[in-house]
């Protein structure tokens, strides 16, 4: 997935044309453990970069998921409501959270795969 970008909050972004698909990384799902619930934003909501827009709950804890970029939420992954475990089994595939139509320039601190891997390594 060389076209993916990553944030320090462990979200990934993949562009499908003009639309950004967003989820959490394998590292993040592994740290969270078994996901049992996800609270997703409303489609149509305008979000700013860094804004907490979703909640993911594992057996042991709740965590915020942030909008990595500013824009408008165009779609959410309603499949996660019935099957939140997809976030564990397919974090960068079927476990995506929401899509955003970007507004303005992307934040300049997004990392590529190598930079993110080095960042995760630095946390260990």
């Amino acid at each position: 997935m060389s076209d993916m970008k990553y944030t320090k909050d462990h979200e990934w972004i993949r562009f499908e044309g003009e639309i950004a698909v967003i989820g959490i990384t394998d590292h993040a799902q592994n740290a969270l453990g078994d996901v049992v619930f996800v609270d997703l934003p409303e489609a149509g909501r305008e979000v700013t970069a860094g804004e907490a827009v979703a909640v993911v709950e594992s057996v042991k804890a709740a965590s915020d998921v942030y909008a990595p970029i500013a824009g408008r939420v165009t779609e959410v992954n309603s499949g996660l409501v019935d099957e939140p475990a997809l976030i564990n089994s397919e974090p960068t595939g079927g476990g995506w959270f929401f899509k955003i139509a970007p507004a303005g320039a992307l934040p300049d601190d997004l990392m590529d795969a190598n930079a993110y891997a080095a960042y995760v390594e630095s946390l260990a």
Binding site: G33, D34, V36, F37, D39, V55, E57, S58, V59, K60, A61, A62, V81, P84
Partner: protein
């Protein structure tokens, strides 16, 4: 000193790491919150087969000498003197205000009492107990012993014993001398096994080699005990909570409720005679979103209590919680709102345990 350097380790620390334990600080110890299978799988495995828990962080001690049981009764409303040899009971240590200093297990070993107290409270419990002992009764802490819990429906076949639920005996497992009780804190049948620290790893390896035994961490221990409706000290019980409020009146002996001669008896008696303002209850949130400890509870818009333990129950397949609510809202089925992230989450007061106990009665 860094946090990890200041943490105690159990005699199974090396094995816990070898097994892939994700180690976290807990009550001053470095403990495995989960192993490689993860909390959900570990929880379900314990209910289906057998799980091995390292609970060596808990405090073990012996009370020896004539009058030991009577001395302990100064601090607890449990019936200690009436406990027969080879039997164990759950009890509460109280302060002068009738508040719970700790919950603990005590057993009659014939020539002595054997005690197990919480890791987070042992530094308080042991001096407290010592302070009421007459000459001739001695409290002997057992820091050189490890404690393992083997829990689940397969345990009765893996390690047959003549004990029924809450029995306790000295025996050998895999050739190693242990004190085993038919008890635990998961709602399942099983054993708690006290063993000399230097034999703990050998015993743990022997148990893990038995068919269907999986190592289980503190994460699943918490979800298992919550489904079983069992209290966690520091979450569901504290020094401001009376046994009556905590719905643990059953742990007080009948004789003790005639004599009223334990510390805090006046307050407890008043709570029994005149009722309490709040009561510990089970709570079932609607939907799948868990409500965690400290979640505010409202009824018809008014704040009436707080969740003290909450999470997702893997066996129940839904979120479960317990907490304290105003007495008039404590009836099963009462509709509540749990305020999760500023939003009301509908819930109902529900009977506990959430998962039926399967003790060998």
């Amino acid at each position: 000193m860094t946090e990890s350097e200041s943490l105690h380790t159990t005699p199974l620390d090396a094995l816990n790491r070898e097994l892939g334990g994700r180690m976290v600080p807990f009550a001053g110890y470095s403990m495995p919150v989960q192993y490689t299978a993860g909390i959900m799988a570990e929880h379900l495995h314990c209910r289906a087969q057998a799980g091995l828990f390292d609970v060596s962080h808990m405090g073990q001690a012996e009370l020896i000498g004539d009058g030991a049981a009577a001395a302990l009764e100064q601090l607890t409303p449990a019936d200690v003197q009436g406990l027969k040899p080879g039997r164990q009971r759950y009890g509460l240590l109280l302060n002068e205000a009738g508040g719970i200093m700790d919950d603990f297990m005590f057993a009659n070993m014939g020539d002595r009492l054997f005690l197990v107290v919480n890791a987070s409270r042992k530094h308080i419990d042991l001096p407290l107990i010592e302070s009421v002992l007459p000459a001739g009764v001695k409290l002997r802490p057992l820091p050189d012993r490890a404690l393992l819990a083997l829990q689940g429906p397969a345990v009765a076949t893996l390690i047959p014993t003549p004990m029924s639920f809450m029995g306790i005996m000295e025996m050998e497992i895999a050739g190693i001398p242990v004190i085993a009780s038919r008890s635990g804190y998961t709602g399942e049948d099983g054993l708690e096994i006290s063993v000399a620290a230097e034999q703990a790893e050998k015993l743990a390896r022997a148990l893990l080699a038995m068919p269907g035994v999986m190592p289980i961490g503190l994460g699943a221990r918490d979800s298992l005990r919550l489904e079983a409706g069992l209290c966690l000290y520091g979450n569901d019980l504290d020094e401001t909570t009376s046994p009556v409020e905590a719905n643990l009146t059953w742990s007080m002996g009948k004789r003790r409720r005639m004599e009223w001669n334990f510390r805090g008896a006046d307050v407890v008696r008043d709570h029994l005679d005149h009722g309490v303002k709040r009561l510990r209850v089970g709570i079932r949130p609607e939907g799948r979103q868990p409500a965690r400890g400290h979640t505010e509870i409202r009824k018809d818009g008014a704040v009436i209590g707080e969740v003290t333990s909450g999470g997702f129950g893997p066996s129940v397949g839904a979120p479960v919680a317990m907490g304290y609510v105003a007495r008039d809202a404590a009836t099963d089925g009462t509709a509540l709102d749990l305020i999760v992230r500023d939003k009301p989450l509908p819930a109902r007061v529900a009977a506990m345990p959430f998962q039926p106990h399967r003790y060998a009665r």
